[in-house]
């Protein structure tokens, strides 16, 4: 099963689609979670997910705003989509009845 940060990364990469690369994924994670995402955590997680076959990466084009340096493009594989869906389903199931879930069926604390 995925870890929390792995899930965030796959979801961010999937949401960015063809524009998923290191800096964009990092910005997306920071914007949606409000947490700092270090370069170290980002690239080691990308490598780990690629080793597991959940992501595919390749070197993309260089742009002037990056000082002519290439991007490391990321694409979520079907196996990655499946793993993210499993994680989401598990979190949804385990959250049923939790007090912080808006349409909870359990009693209030």
């Amino acid at each position: 099963m995925l870890g929390e940060f792995e899930y965030l990364m796959i979801t961010a990469a999937a949401g960015l689609g063809d524009n998923a690369y290191g800096a964009a994924i990092r910005e997306e994670i920071e914007a949606t979670t409000g947490r700092k995402c270090s370069i170290g955590a980002l690239y080691t997680t990308i490598d780990r997910l690629e080793t597991k076959g959940l992501l595919k990466t390749w070197m993309g084009d260089a742009t002037p705003q990056r000082g002519g340096r290439a991007k490391r493009m990321v694409r979520v594989t079907p196996k990655g989509v499946h793993a993210a869906k499993d994680f989401y389903d598990a979190v949804t199931r385990v959250s049923r009845g939790a007090s912080w879930v808006a349409n909870r069926t359990g009693s209030a604390p």
């Binding site: 800096a23 990092r26 170290g40 070197m59 260089a62 742009t63 000082g67 340096r69 290439a70």
Partner: protein, 242 residues
């Protein structure tokens, strides 16, 4: 990001692989981070990469199983070869050793070939096992060398005779980095040759002046040669299965 700060970040990024360096430096520029944030980010990635490398058994084996013990023992063998050479050149010493010029030359040849064989195979294994952690193996090899060099006090000998093993070892590392495994027949031939050269020393014990010091520890020097045989054999088996 200032040019001075940027140069520090770029210098730190040199510790990363080329493609990763490109991507990381580009990301930092795009995110418009300051030099300190960039430096911390790059160094944290370098640290994580290094930690990940050491999760494998290979760099540990290369550093503590080959580089450190082999350098200690091979300094002794280097000294032994030097003594053999000096004995051959000095008739008085040759007479004391109860060896003839012919047998003494043969002993020197065997010792030299053993030194080359042990050093080369050790270097090859270190190179093939620890490509990206070679710095650690080099450090562990050079520490005892520097210690012994600083303590070596024999007037008739240069202290650098301790380092005779270095040249074949570096040659082995160079090959190990390039090809990572040998052809099986060459690996077997090398292992058998080195083992055969060791046998006279084993059978006659350490009472002979020319016997390598602490011959009982010679297995530390011979296992890299047989490790090469095993890895080559396993690779060939996997290729045949595929």
């Amino acid at each position: 990001m200032t040019s001075t700060g940027w140069s520090f970040v770029e210098a730190a990024a040199r510790l990363l692989a080329r493609d990763e360096r490109e991507a990381v430096l580009g990301d930092l520029l795009e995110a418009d981070e300051n030099a300190l944030q960039g430096l911390v980010g790059v160094l944290s990635l370098v640290f994580r990469r290094e930690v990940a490398l050491w999760k494998s058994w290979r760099p540990w084996l290369a550093a503590f199983g080959v580089a450190l013990p082999s350098s200690l023992l091979l300094m002794g063998v280097s000294l032994s070869v030097t003594w053999s050479y000096l004995t051959l050149r000095c008739p008085e010493l040759l007479q004391k050793s109860s060896l003839t010029l012919g047998s003494g030359s043969l002993v020197l040849l065997c010792q030299t070939l053993l030194l080359i064989g042990w050093s080369w195979t050790g270097g090859f294994v270190v190179g093939s096992l620890s490509r990206r952690t070679l710095w650690a193996s080099t450090l562990l090899c050079s520490s005892p060398c520097l210690f012994c060099l600083s303590r070596f006090r024999v007037e008739s000998l240069s202290r650098f005779c301790l380092l005779l093993f270095l040249l074949p070892a570096i040659w082995g590392v160079h090959h190990g980095l390039r090809i990572s495994r040998m052809k099986l027949r060459w690996a077997i031939a090398l292992a058998i040759t080195v083992t055969a050269l060791m046998l006279p020393g084993w059978s006659s014990g350490a009472q002979h002046w020319w016997a390598p010091p602490q011959w009982t520890l010679n297995w530390i020097l011979i296992w890299p040669a047989w490790y090469l045989v095993v890895t080559s054999w396993r690779f060939r088996t996997e290729v045949r299965r595929a």
